[in-house]
């Protein structure tokens, strides 16, 4: 069989695989893609399609294998990085999984900032980050709680010793003040891990949500990219706040805000909460 015949046969098998997939016959689809791969082992889409079937069957080891193979053939495939990220998270390989999802998000935004893939990838990424925060913050809070109790006990011992020596009048108020100060110090220490409100300057004036992909207009106002694009398409060609004329081509990424958001999320992981 010549190379061109091999390719056209493989393409037929891919199409068959796709139609099995749509009907939910994942095993049949896997077989079709596997045959296609045997004929033409260098076509990345055969691997990503098969990976998606494995994903539907929760066969994460194979999802990882096929995604890696696809990335080897073509390094900037959004879907491959996305599925690899999910597979790694399933294996509890947290840091690498997040890295893959972030890569997928960057690539996805480059290709189609309003696409459903971008939203889906963000949701998964935020979920993973939020879970990490829950885990780490509960450890931190446990640690602080123990330390606080130890400090309170130490203060109490000191106070009791004073009392025994007969310095009652002075020791009482000092002891109370120290306990209060201690409480404040520990409250301060827990602040970053206490869910509250994201500052307004890190939130889009339309979504009222923390920025993901901020862009700035010539009026100097920053918006969430997908939402301002939607506004320009559906509502009108003007800046929603200043009402100055605005065209899509005038939108510029706001990297400073993006970095500020990243720094904020690093410190306040609870802000990844998506609902």
């Amino acid at each position: 069989m010549g190379p061109s015949l091999a390719f056209s046969t493989a393409e037929e098998l891919r199409k068959a695989g796709n139609s099995y997939f749509k009907k939910g016959f994942f095993n049949a689809a896997i077989e079709a893609y596997t045959e296609a791969i045997t004929l033409c082992p260098d076509i990345p889409v055969y691997y990503t399609n098969r990976a998606l079937c494995h994903l539907k069957r929760n066969d994460w080891t194979r999802v990882e294998e096929d995604s890696r193979k696809a990335i080897q053939l073509e390094h900037n495939l959004v879907k491959a990085h996305y599925m690899l990220g999910l597979a790694l998270l399933q294996k509890q390989e947290y840091a690498d999984g997040v890295k893959e999802l972030e890569r997928a998000l960057d690539l996805g935004r480059g290709a189609n900032p309003k696409g459903y893939m971008v939203e889906e990838i963000w949701q998964e990424l935020a979920k993973a980050k939020y879970m990490e925060w829950e885990d780490l913050s509960s450890k931190r809070s446990w640690e602080l709680q123990n330390l606080k109790e130890a400090c309170e006990n130490a203060l109490k011992e000191k106070h009791d010793a004073f009392e025994m020596e007969g310095f009652l009048d002075e020791a009482g108020p000092t002891h109370m003040r120290q306990l209060e100060a201690l409480g404040r110090v520990f409250e301060k220490a827990a602040e970053a891990d206490t869910p509250s409100e994201v500052p307004d300057y890190l939130c889009c004036k339309i979504t009222l949500d923390i920025f993901r992909d901020p862009v700035i207009t010539p009026s100097g106002v920053t918006y969430e990219r997908s939402v301002i694009l939607n506004h320009l398409e559906k509502v009108g060609n003007f800046d929603p706040i200043t009402r100055e004329p605005l065209d899509q081509s005038q939108l510029i990424p706001n990297f400073s805000i993006k970095e500020a958001v990243e720094a904020y999320l690093q410190e306040h992981g609870w802000a990844y909460r998506t609902e």
Partner: protein, 161 residues
């Protein structure tokens, strides 16, 4: 009449839901002066009590606004009407419809329920005459089939009031 226009509406999109939850939260912390949100479990329809500002024609009067949000809020304006009896005002019809540009042609997704409320209160406060719009009877008659004010082709009376 007030509910028929909203009966066929679609449920809120995820973006709309998210944004309204944030608006409600902000409202609870920091409500606009003179307004009170009536607590319900319906995110898609808010009923808001308005108190006329002191020192204006409407002081000591209380009215109710009904705000219905479309599926694609805030890319689309909410429908805002007074639940009759509506205040006597040159831009407010007896059926509760309000002639205010930001609710229709001049809507911007950067506006919020809170900013709409402030605009409506300022419209009331700046009024010098308690009367209905000149075309009140004709307009209200035309709306008898339950038409939403968002389907009206508004000709805005003037920009100052």
């Amino acid at each position: 009449m007030t509910s028929s226009s909203a009966s066929g509406r679609k449920t809120l999109s995820k973006i709309a839901c998210n944004r309204l939850q944030k608006e409600l939260l902000e409202w609870q912390v920091n409500p606009p002066a003179g307004f009170k949100h009536k607590v319900t479990d319906n995110l898609q329809r808010w009923v808001i009590e308005v108190n006329g500002a002191p020192g204006t024609l409407y002081s000591n009067e209380t009215y109710q606004l009904q705000v219905d949000f479309p599926e694609h809020y805030p890319m689309e304006a909410p429908q805002v009407i007074f639940i009759p009896p509506a205040p006597l005002h040159p831009h407010i019809y007896s059926n509760g419809h309000i002639c205010l540009d930001i609710l229709y042609d001049s809507w911007s997704p950067a506006m919020t329920v809170s900013s709409i409320c402030i605009s409506i209160l300022s419209m009331l406060s700046s009024s010098t005459m308690k009367q209905r719009p000149e075309d009140n009877d004709r307009y209200v008659k035309n709306c008898r089939n339950g038409r939403s004010p968002k389907e009206t082709r508004w000709w805005f009376h003037d920009d100052k009031v």
